[in-house]
Symmetry: C2
Subunit: 201 residues, 2 copies
């Protein structure tokens, strides 16, 4: 239906068709939000997000209005979402506890990034299993009252070792690539193996 | 900080303090949305929800504007959220594939419910590990444009065998009580055991 985007040079991921983008977040993983404007860039962890529409693929992401990330998003109208895995849990923890206002967290924590193919936002592959580029849909009231930012996904890619054919492959063969889910209090949990209780769609 | 609510007669759960309510959904589990208005009631599964605020505890839940559930919520201004576990996965699947417009899914599928202590919405404990009662915060634009319903949690309870002291106890001792997360395509995944990569809060 939708043409997958090209990948940035150096990417080891595979494109994800836009009509499957919601599946990257459907099961509630912790994400990292990347942003850039002018010479500045940032990355922060976020536990609170959800798809809101399949096609066009739209998301709601809760980003505190007082964060440096939100100021960069307000200035640029775009952001990236990276989906850390078990190998990236420490990174997700690290970028979740300090503000990027006074330092470049990519440099501080040695986080390599690529420029997203459509919007040029930073996307992270090491320690992550997927990424998405998002264009903010400005909604002043939701952003102000609920810190809730709506956006549309314009490109997506995932590690084909764990997401392929439009589905997560949580079969136990690559457990360190499974997504992580934040419980609060410094604790994460990763998902186990997929199971079915009867076809749905 | 916040006084926990009383429990309905017959409940085997323990109250969850409202300042901890967000933790019930923080890691992105699949939920079931219950609703009632007049003589009608309904229950449907929903994969898309997220906390948006800790205190007061507020959530965003995506509920398609064309569902019977949404018509009951519009009429009553309230709904319940039940968090199914591995034992309840089949129930979550079943109530997710048919509309309650023409039948009472509680009766069809033999789902026992209690009346929530504050709002009287149906809450389900068998096959679930937690429930919350929510008051809709009417936001016509978000509901219309994004099917996104904001709400405030007014009571919450959880199975003390898997959630206690304000935290999920995903330590492997009760795996069938672990939450389930919908992957799409009829597949769920449950979470494994919690791990820490360094304290956060």
């Amino acid at each position: 239906m939708t043409t997958a985007s090209a990948l940035p040079v150096g990417s080891r991921f595979a494109p994800v068709a836009l009509e499957h983008a919601s599946r990257l977040l459907n099961h509630g993983p912790t994400i990292m939000v990347t942003s850039t404007s002018g010479e500045r860039r940032n990355v922060m962890s976020a536990a609170w997000s959800t798809p809101v529409e399949f096609v066009p693929p739209r998301l709601a992401v809760v980003i505190d209005k007082n964060t440096f990330t939100k100021s960069l998003i307000d200035a640029s109208g775009k952001f990236g979402i990276c989906v850390p895995n078990v190998e990236g849990a420490k990174m997700a923890r690290d970028v979740g506890v300090v503000s990027g206002h006074d330092e470049d967290k990519f440099a501080t924590y040695g986080i390599a990034s690529l420029a997203g193919p459509v919007l040029g936002v930073p996307v992270i592959e090491t320690g992550c299993s997927a990424w998405l580029e998002c264009r903010l849909i400005p909604e002043a009231h939701s952003e102000d009252a609920y810190d809730t930012c709506f956006c549309e996904v314009v490109s997506a890619a995932a590690d084909p070792a764990i997401f392929r054919d439009g589905h997560w492959q949580f079969d136990g063969s690559r457990p360190t690539l499974h997504t992580i889910h934040y419980l609060g209090g410094g604790n994460f949990v990763s998902v186990g193996n997929a199971f079915s209780v009867g076809a749905i769609d």
